[in-house]
């Protein structure tokens, strides 16, 4: 019984991953860009002039076959890193990405140490 379940699970995961949606959804790119002239809105949400211009440029670049990464690099080179909502993986953002996992690992270690002592009941 157990092995059948495992087989079913694996088959299903493989099946769903093959069909996983990898197309660039234009709107997702818009959501990842910050509107520079608004107070905390993305290009997708903003109704500003700047946002509509950026949308046109992004759509053009997608038609030219540029990848998501290339579009972000292009905009970062023109406007700085502030325009993308996903912080880069480099040395200056090291602590940003590592701290949560550091806490996760430390917490795990603390729990392990706590549980290691066999309680005398």
């Amino acid at each position: 019984m157990k092995s059948k379940i495992i087989f079913f699970i694996l088959a299903f995961f493989i099946f769903s991953s093959i069909h996983a949606n990898e197309n660039i959804k234009v709107n997702d790119i818009f959501k990842n860009l910050r509107c520079l002239v608004c107070q905390g809105q993305s290009i997708a949400d903003s109704n500003s002039d700047f946002a509509s211009t950026v949308k046109l440029v992004v759509e053009d670049q997608i038609k030219q076959g540029k990848s998501e990464k290339e579009i972000y690099s292009f905009l970062i080179s023109k406007y700085g890193e502030w325009i993308v909502y996903k912080p880069s993986f480099d040395t200056k953002n090291f602590f940003l990405w590592i701290l949560p996992y550091l806490v996760l690992v430390s917490g795990g270690i603390i729990l392990y140490v706590l549980l290691r002592k066999k309680p005398k009941l």
Binding site: L36, V37, D49, F50, S52, T53, V54, L56, V57, D60, L75, S77, K78, Y79, G80, W82
Partner: protein
């Protein structure tokens, strides 16, 4: 001793965080691209206002410094700064005007009224070309050297102070 070390670390860390908050209070929150200089402008092509010609990266090779000024007839601060542009062109500055999301007739009226400081006028009707220059509002003026490198970015209208700065740079 071990306990004391933990305490020192905790106190130190909290003190560090609070100091950062303190310093953060003094900082200016508005973001601008003033400091994005030193990068090269890659290929671009903007049609001229009369549609006979085009403005491309080749243009910069001809002058020591080119000032690219993004403006529009419907933009009030652009009207305010225009006289400084006229002065600059009289002082020998080589200025390219890019009319941003404007109607040709309105742009020509604007220049007839306030003077034409531009050696070349391009028209960016949908605003897309402005993105290549990192523009996010108008007026914005960018000083570019012969090697297509951005030397200075002026966000917002040119005033007396900035006018003097520009003069210093292009001399």
């Amino acid at each position: 001793m071990r306990v004391n070390l933990t305490r020192i670390i905790i106190f130190g860390f909290i003190f560090f965080c609070l100091s950062i908050f303190w310093l953060g209070l003094k900082k200016d929150q508005t973001y601008d691209t003033r400091n994005l200089i030193g990068n090269k402008i890659n290929e671009f092509s903007i049609p001229s206002l009369d549609e006979t010609n085009s403005f491309s990266e080749q243009y910069f090779l001809n002058n020591k410094f080119t000032i690219v000024n993004f403006f529009a007839s419907w933009c009030a601060p652009c009207r305010d700064e225009h006289k400084y542009l006229v002065e600059l062109s009289k002082n020998g500055a080589h200025i390219v005007g890019v009319s941003f999301k404007d109607k040709k007739s309105n742009t020509l009226d604007f220049l007839n009224q306030l003077g034409n400081p531009y050696k070349f006028i391009a028209a960016d009707n949908d605003g897309k070309a402005s993105i290549s220059f990192g523009i996010y509002g108008i007026p914005e003026s960018i000083i570019i050297n012969r090697e297509s490198v951005v030397v200075k970015k002026i966000i917002g209208p040119i005033n007396q102070e900035i006018f003097k700065e520009i003069l210093n740079i292009i001399k």
